[in-house]
């Protein structure tokens, strides 16, 4: 039979019209390459679950998106990831919240679904479970991007809240400034 795939990204407070042509092109190219990965899985008879995981891994690795690398920061300067996956055929589902080191949160959610008796694991326990399943771990600085950090600092200063110290191991100031995803997902997660 045929296959079909749809992907989406969060919203930003910046209208599309205010994107520079380069930024617009960067987003479209990123979405396009993610679609190609998913289309490749499905066209070769792969499962919908595999396509979902493969596409989201691509988007988690892309610093343009608020997921995985390039995610926004908490008020105390950390990055905490949430993810969920669900299999329509069996109603099996897996979800994680508050991960800080697992490189692909969507894979942790899938491991919860397939390799644990639970549906939802959070925080340190979820991280320990992901590690026990052999999922790749990275230093939290891997997820750092200059633009998100600057977005946090601006936001906290605007709200009169204390600004946390720059995370340990974060690239030198400005090193990641080139990665300037335009859509500031301050609006929501």
């Amino acid at each position: 039979g045929g296959w079909s795939l749809a992907i989406h990204g969060g919203a930003g407070v910046i209208e599309r019209g205010s994107l520079t042509p380069e930024q617009d092109a960067a987003y479209r190219a990123a979405l396009d390459s993610a679609l190609q990965v998913g289309a490749g899985v499905l066209d070769n008879g792969g499962s919908a679950l595999d396509a979902v995981e493969a596409v989201i891994q691509v988007l988690e690795d892309d610093p343009l998106f608020n997921a995985g690398r390039g995610a926004v920061f908490t008020a105390d300067g950390r990055i905490e990831h949430d993810a969920a996956i669900m299999d329509g055929t069996t109603l099996d589902a897996g979800a994680v919240a508050g991960l800080t080191r697992t490189r692909h949160p969507i894979s942790a959610a899938r491991a919860v679904m397939e390799d644990s008796p639970h549906v939802f694991l959070i925080g340190q326990g979820a991280e320990t479970f992901a590690r026990s399943q052999g999922l790749e771990e990275v230093d939290p600085a891997f997820f750092f991007t200059e633009r998100r950090w600057r977005g946090l600092v601006r936001q906290l200063e605007r709200e009169g809240l204390p600004v946390p110290v720059r995370p340990e191991g974060a690239p030198a100031e400005g090193a990641m400034a080139a990665v300037t995803p335009p859509l500031d997902e301050r609006k929501f997660g």
Binding site: G10, I56, A67, E159
Partner: protein
């Protein structure tokens, strides 16, 4: 937040969503993404898969992803029963949407009703919905959203709203 809904060659549906959450979040705040039935849901029996991105608190309260699947199942099972309600919703959708609404009526009704409910609560965001027949549907009530779709019968496309 990023999300995917997919239908494979065996007719299996799946949904997934991943996020860094809300910038500046405190106290361990979690939004709708990891809450099954709020930001992520898939059911072959009901015939659709949903991934949401939005102001999570509202998507949790309105159980958006689960409701869209339930509404879709209802619309495809009892299309005539809801005629007056459906007509009211179709009448309220913008003219340019009429053709797609009638053409894809159950998924349009299900998704637009849910996003309207989120809006009435004061929330913003959007969903992507995949039906068992491979129909991809996008519904949103805010700007700055980026979308993409591909299938075995149509070329891939991306859009930023």
């Amino acid at each position: 937040t990023v999300g995917v809904v997919a239908l494979d060659r065996e007719g299996r549906l799946a949904a997934g969503t991943s996020t860094g959450g809300m910038s500046g979040k405190r106290w361990g705040r979690v939004g709708d993404v990891p809450v099954i039935g709020a930001g992520t849901y898939a059911s072959n029996v009901e015939g659709c898969a949903v991934s949401a991105t939005g102001s999570g608190e509202y998507f949790i309260r309105a159980t958006v992803a689960r409701d869209i699947c339930a509404r879709y199942a209802w619309e495809t099972t009892y299309p005539e029963v809801e005629e007056n309600r459906v007509t009211a919703i179709l009448d309220s959708c913008p003219p340019e949407m009429i053709c797609s609404a009638h053409m894809r009526r159950p998924v349009y009704i299900a998704a637009s009703a849910e996003i309207r409910e989120v809006g009435e609560l004061g929330g913003e965001g959007g969903v992507i919905v995949m039906t068992r027949s491979g129909e991809a549907w996008f519904e949103m009530n805010t700007s700055g959203m980026y979308r993409g779709a591909a299938s075995s019968t149509e070329p891939a496309w991306v859009a930023i709203y």
